[in-house]
Amino acid sequence: MSNQVLHALYDDDDVLLNAVKEVREHKHHIEEIYTPFPVHGLDKAMGLEGTRIAIMAFIYGCIGLGVAITMINFIMIEDWPQNIGGKPSFSFLENLPAFVPVIFEMTVFFAAHLMVITFYMRSRLWPFKEAENPNPLTTDDKFLMEVEINGNEEELTALLKKTGAIEITIPQNHEE
């Protein structure tokens, strides 16, 4: 029974935010919240850990920097040095100013794309994936809170009603 959950639907983000605080004060476990848009302060109210994607962004940026330097050094200096605008490419350092824009763009490119891919993988999202969203209303204008039930259904329902939930349901096939 530990996996059984209860769905509470809200129609306002401020009401939802207060409800989250209330529910957590009463030591209930919130499994997930579905919202049509990012609600400011919701992650803190839910007590979610801070994201670590910033660290990955930095690492990806460093990888991009390294790849770009290696690449442009091979292309412009080692493999086929050319005389462009009276600046013969025989030394990486002396031609560095011309390479900076390329290196910068590659750094941004790597950081941005790898970060998006990481985010998708971490969120288990991929093209043509079936939506996990329990209620399509949460893509429109409603907010849904999924709370774990531990045999305290009545108490929890009463609490959620009090916090301003407009509809409370218990999905039957959740365990399957």
């Binding site: 930095f58 605008g85 009276g86 600046k87 013969p88 100013p97 011309a98 900076v100």
Partner: protein, 454 residues
């Protein structure tokens, strides 16, 4: 109300006295005539750079045989040198050495003047954007802009003294030079002393008028029952920003770029703006953290510091973008009259030129990248001090190479100038802070600013 603590007052006074002594020392140490100048250079082992012009060329081209563009520039330099006789070369050296204390004074005066000017622009942006996060900082910004008028008057006095030929900072002010220089002669309609000083006074008057009225409306808003003062402030701030960006550009050409009257850069106004903007924001952060540590500014929380940190980070990157854009285009096109600007900086000012990039870009980039560090006062102060010193070096690099050439040194006069104006800045700013409550309590966005969190 804030009272200026005696301890800080004494520190400011001590800085001014120390700095003044340093400046006097610098002025007394300047050579009076050519013999003295030559003797000074001989004892300082700068000799090899000032030998026979032909020798100089040979040496230079040997040392830079593989560096084609450097060689080219040396060729033109050497050519210029051979064109003159030995006497004019010595006179040039004398002028450079006589310029040294003046340039030290001017660099520091301009640097500390540009901080309140940058803060004023930042303040006007907050007003014009009707920002909700920053009203708790308005009085800090108004306090810093209190230095605008005294600092500006000092700079204009120095410019006027240059116009009266007390120094040779601006060579186009010398009719003798203009007579032999076709390029400068073509610019005389714009670059002449009366028009130059007239512009300077007009700019400072415009900025000071905005500062006066915005401060007046801001104080009036504290007592007001409606928001008419706030609205007036919004309107004059928007108008000021238009006036500011035009006048700031012209100011940067006048007061800095014209020291090199042959050279020009089309993004110079932006470049100077970025420098003053980031210095100003850093000054706001440092003053705020200081006041907060003294138990004032109760409503400022770490989210406000975080936002200032973001601006310090962002505008540091913006400054680097402009620095690099200016450098790369000139480096790539390699047009002699443009590229000499960077050749002198890279050859004679290597350490300050690249050191400045490390201080203004690499250090803040790495230190302030982390979100948590931007909320920690210690990191903001550390990054802030490096940014302030880095942008002092930036102004140094803009003015010194044309004023004193390779005779530069960060010595008693330079440090003295920095300390003197730092003391004067602290004294003026904190005196201004005592004149009004530190909370602009009548601001309609105060509630939002108070609850501001990240």
């Amino acid at each position: 109300m804030y009272t200026f603590p005696n301890k800080l007052k004494n520190i400011a006074r001590a800085l001014m006295i120390l700095g003044f002594i340093g400046l006097v020392f610098g002025f007394l140490g300047a050579p009076k005539n050519i013999t003295e100048a030559k003797a000074m250079v001989a004892t300082e082992h700068h000799g090899e750079g000032h030998g026979e012009a032909a020798e100089h060329h040979e040496e230079a081209s040997e040392a830079h045989a593989e560096d084609t563009h450097a060689e080219e520039a040396h060729a033109t330099e050497a050519h210029a040198e051979t064109a003159h006789d030995e006497g004019s070369h010595d006179e040039h050296l004398l002028h450079q050495l006589q310029n040294k204390p003046w340039a030290a004074l001017y660099v520091a005066a301009f640097f500390f003047f540009m901080i309140p000017l940058g803060v004023l622009a930042f303040y006007a942006i907050q007003r014009a954007a009707q920002a909700g996060w920053s009203p708790v900082l308005y009085r800090v910004m108004e306090g810093i802009t209190g230095y605008l008028l005294p600092g500006g008057i000092i700079v204009i006095v120095i410019l006027a003294l240059s116009g009266m030929h007390f120094n040779h900072l601006f060579i186009w002010m010398d009719p003798e030079v203009v007579a032999h220089d076709k390029l400068i002669a073509g610019k005389v309609a714009f670059l002449n002393v009366p028009f130059f000083l007239g512009r300077a006074i007009f700019f400072l008057a415009g900025w000071s008028l905005y500062r006066y009225f915005s401060r007046k409306f801001s104080l009036a808003q504290d007592q007001a029952t409606d928001i008419s003062n706030h609205k007036k402030n919004f309107r004059i701030s928007a108008a000021f920003l238009v006036f500011y960006i035009v006048t700031e550009s012209i100011m940067s050409w006048d007061w800095i770029m014209s020291i090199d009257p042959h050279w020009f850069s089309t993004l110079f106004g932006w470049y100077v703006f970025a420098s003053m903007f980031v210095s100003g924001i850093t000054a706001i952060a440092l003053v705020t953290i200081y006041l907060k540590s003294q138990g004032y500014l109760e409503l400022v929380n770490d989210s406000h510091i975080h936002d200032l940190g973001k601006f310090m980070f962002g505008i540091s990157v913006f400054w680097t973008y402009l620095w690099f854009s200016q450098f790369m285009l000139i480096w790539y096109s390699n047009i002699p009259e443009e590229v000499t600007y960077f050749i002198t900086r890279i050859e004679d000012y290597n350490i300050t030129f690249f050191g400045m990039v490390a201080m203004n870009f690499v250090f803040p980039l790495l230190i302030l990248m982390n979100s948590d560090y931007k909320r920690t006062n210690y990191f903001i102060i550390m990054a802030g001090i490096v940014i302030i010193l880095g942008h002092y070096l930036d102004v140094f690099n803009m003015i010194m190479p044309s004023a004193v050439g390779d005779q530069w040194f960060i010595g008693v006069a330079e440090i003295g100038g920095f300390l003197f104006f730092l003391g004067l800045f602290i004294y003026t700013v904190f005196t201004e802070l005592t004149k009004a409550p530190l909370l602009a309590k009548g601001d309609p966005y105060m509630g939002e600013s108070e609850r501001f969190h990240y």
